[in-house]
């Protein structure tokens, strides 16, 4: 216990002395380089891609896309994962920003909407180039910041509506469906469900029997679907899932329940879902192009960092935009089975070619 007392005294002493002598300031050492300078030697640029985890095909493909881009410009990408843990994401970002931030380019998938502001402000303060994807609070404007270059997402309302319509068609325009929601704290989940509601309004004979969250998880979707199937029995004609993982979980549940008359739709176009659509067990999904997302974020940052593109030259509508997406059904699934990144997509003058317009 000797550990205690002497330490106590020392630490209190030092802190108090430090506090009284120097007072409090807002800045930690370092940081604060001017953002839009954009004159980095291409070789000095550090590329960082951060997603939730590598144990998810979509996000692993995202990082691989980032690697492909890095290779294209002769660099390597630092792959970070935070295991779906918001706190850990913040911790990693702040540690990252405490290092050399001069030519740092980050392509980040924030865990939830609320995780975006601190990342943005940290990057702004440190002068690191940041592109975020998917999650952002609606009232946070990219144009208010210099080093937050762009925010890319898919129009969730549109996706939710598209697959909702496809489902309605598959069940023949009338019947009961159940919905599996994503992590409720994400814009994506909310938007997609809003899309479903729009679709339901347009298809008045389709009835939403129940909606439960399965947190974007295949295993949870399996359990929830099993229970809901028991609860609603043969009334269930279709299952709307806010992503493909949950749709696949629902498919397993259907298979275990011996039901093959239920249509299932999802979003993301993960390989397994595409296979399922090819087989005819699943009805539709909407493409989200992981590899492209992994590359494009880095590409935007790289172009700005090396001075090939100036922040002020990026049109306001390209600071926060919807990327192009496609409804995939059995007739067009073959086109999407093996997504490839196209180097041309990442050229500095072609970065925004997939834009479907500014975020509303």
């Amino acid at each position: 216990m000797k550990f205690t007392s002497r330490h106590t005294a020392a630490v209190i002493g030092v802190t108090l002395a430090a506090a009284t002598l120097t007072g409090c300031t807002e800045e930690a050492g370092g940081g604060g380089t001017a953002a839009a300078a954009g004159a980095c030697d291409p070789a000095d640029v550090t590329l960082v891609g951060q997603v939730r985890n590598e144990s998810n095909p979509y996000e692993a493909a995202w990082l691989d896309g980032g690697d492909a881009f890095a290779e294209q410009v002769g660099l390597t990408q630092e792959r970070l994962t935070y295991d779906g843990d918001s706190t850990r994401q913040q911790e990693q970002i702040s540690q990252l920003l405490a290092g050399d931030t001069e030519c740092l380019v980050m392509n980040v998938l924030p865990n939830g909407d609320s995780d975006t502001p601190p990342i943005v402000e940290g990057a702004e303060e440190a002068g690191a180039y940041l592109v975020t994807q998917w999650n952002k609070p609606a009232d946070l404007n990219v144009t208010d910041y210099d080093s937050w270059l762009s925010h890319i997402t898919y129009d969730g309302v549109e996706s939710g509506k598209q697959i909702g319509d496809a489902l309605a068609e598959a069940v023949g325009g009338s019947g009961g469906i159940i919905a599996l929601q994503g992590i409720l704290d994400t814009g994506a989940a909310k938007d997609r469900f809003a899309g479903l509601e729009e679709s339901l309004a347009a298809n008045p004979d389709v009835e939403l029997l129940d909606d439960q969250t399965a947190n974007f998880s295949r295993a949870e979707a399996l359990e929830v679907t099993k229970t809901l199937l028991t609860k609603h029995g043969d009334d269930v004609k279709g299952i709307w899932a806010a992503n493909d993982d949950m749709a696949l979980g629902a498919l397993e549940a259907l298979q275990q329940a011996g039901r093959d008359d239920v249509a299932v739709v999802g979003i993301d176009a993960v390989p397994d879902a595409l296979t399922a659509i090819e087989d005819g067990t699943m009805t539709a999904t909407v493409s989200s192009d992981g590899p492209w997302q992994g590359g494009i974020g880095l590409a935007i940052g790289y172009c700005v960092a090396t001075g090939e593109l100036a922040v002020e030259d990026i049109a306001a509508e390209d600071r926060a935009w919807y990327a192009e997406q496609f409804l995939i059904e059995q007739d067009n699934v073959a086109d999407f089975v093996s997504p490839e990144t196209d180097e041309a997509d990442f050229a500095c003058d072609n970065l925004f070619s997939r834009s479907q317009g500014a975020m509303s």
Binding site: I12, A28, G29, T87, G112, S114
Partner: protein
């Protein structure tokens, strides 16, 4: 009193009253582990050992230190508090919801509220004699549920940042205020324990509850107090998290539970109670933080990062655990 009847020569007892070099070394093990880890990370990436990087690391560690410090008290009493992380998440939501009405008082209100919730768990534990593991496991799911319901399962933005701005300042330009607060908390609690009979009572309770009770130590009150402080610390940690994330969220701190317990154990506090200190948990929390943020930053791929994390954390405990104080390792 007359001379004792004992005529047998007393064994030449030279058992020293002061700790030996070895004992001293064991008590400094957490710090040694910390230094070794830092050195290893620096070897892996020489760019890691910079002032700003260390500053960021200690800033990151602040909520974990606070959480671990609070829970250490419960562990010292021989219990465990599994609810700290969920309570902390709940508190971030409370904070975000209350801030518009309470303004600058919110911080105090939060700490008082979480302290009261902690006390409630303590009361349930001592009154109904339910093992703390169960009470706090139940507490964990109940707090999560409340947080989900009152936040409508989504994050609550904090627009007015003035209330938490002070935590983002830096003392002397380098030491993050949040960490200073954590340090002051650890120092203050340690000091109070040391200067009052509390330390005796807590350790007696942890080592041997029945002996403590039969010696008239206020075992029940000490336990409730430990849970109260643990709860209040969860509240303080919540304020720190809000100051960092500008929002409250029903799951924000959930993933800090196992790191906090790991911090306590890595610090060398016996999970069975009695032996340990808050300072040890401070060192432990720094080790855990370095592992959490350091490994990926120095470029360890995520799969290997998890393997290394697992291995290092076990090794660290092997190093810091004072086995002379714990007879049977469960």
């Amino acid at each position: 009193m007359s001379a004792p009847v004992l005529t047998t020569p007393a064994p030449d007892a030279v058992v020293p009253g002061r700790p030996t070099v070895g004992q001293r070394l064991t008590s400094f093990m957490p710090v040694i582990a910390l230094v070794v880890l830092l050195a290893a990370l620096t070897v892996a990436d020489p760019g890691f050992l910079t002032l700003s990087s260390l500053t960021a690391a200690v800033r990151t560690s602040a909520p974990l230190v606070v959480l671990a410090a609070g829970a250490t008290l419960v562990v010292l009493c021989g219990g465990i508090d599994l609810s700290i992380a969920a309570l902390c998440s709940l508190a971030t939501v409370f904070f975000a919801l209350w801030l518009p009405d309470l303004g600058g008082l919110t911080t105090f209100a939060i700490i008082a509220a979480t302290g009261a919730i902690g006390a409630l768990q303590g009361v349930a534990h001592v009154l109904f004699r339910i093992p703390s593991f169960i009470v706090t496991l139940g507490g964990m799911s109940i707090f999560s549920a409340i947080a989900l319901v009152i936040s409508d399962a989504g994050p609550v933005r904090v627009v007015d940042r003035d209330a938490t701005n002070w935590l983002t300042l830096y003392v002397g330009g380098v030491v993050p205020m949040a960490f200073v607060v954590a340090l002051v908390l650890v120092a203050a609690v340690s000091l109070v324990l040391r200067l009052t009979p509390l330390e005796s009572w807590i350790r007696a309770t942890g080592y041997s509850e029945s002996a403590a009770r039969l010696a008239g130590a206020p075992v029940d009150r000490v336990k409730i107090a430990a849970f109260t402080v643990s709860g209040a610390c969860a509240g303080l940690a919540a304020v720190m998290l809000v100051s960092r994330n500008f929002s409250g969220s029903p799951t924000m701190a959930d993933n800090l539970l196992l790191p906090a317990v790991a911090a306590i154990v890595v610090g060398g506090t016996a999970i069975t109670g009695g032996h340990g200190s808050l300072w040890r948990s401070l060192a432990g929390a720094l080790v855990v933080t370095l592992l959490r943020v350091g490994l990926p930053i120095v470029g360890v791929p995520s799969a290997y990062e998890q393997i290394l994390y697992g291995a290092i954390i076990v090794a660290a405990v092997a190093l810091t655990l004072d086995r002379s104080k714990v007879l049977i390792i469960k």
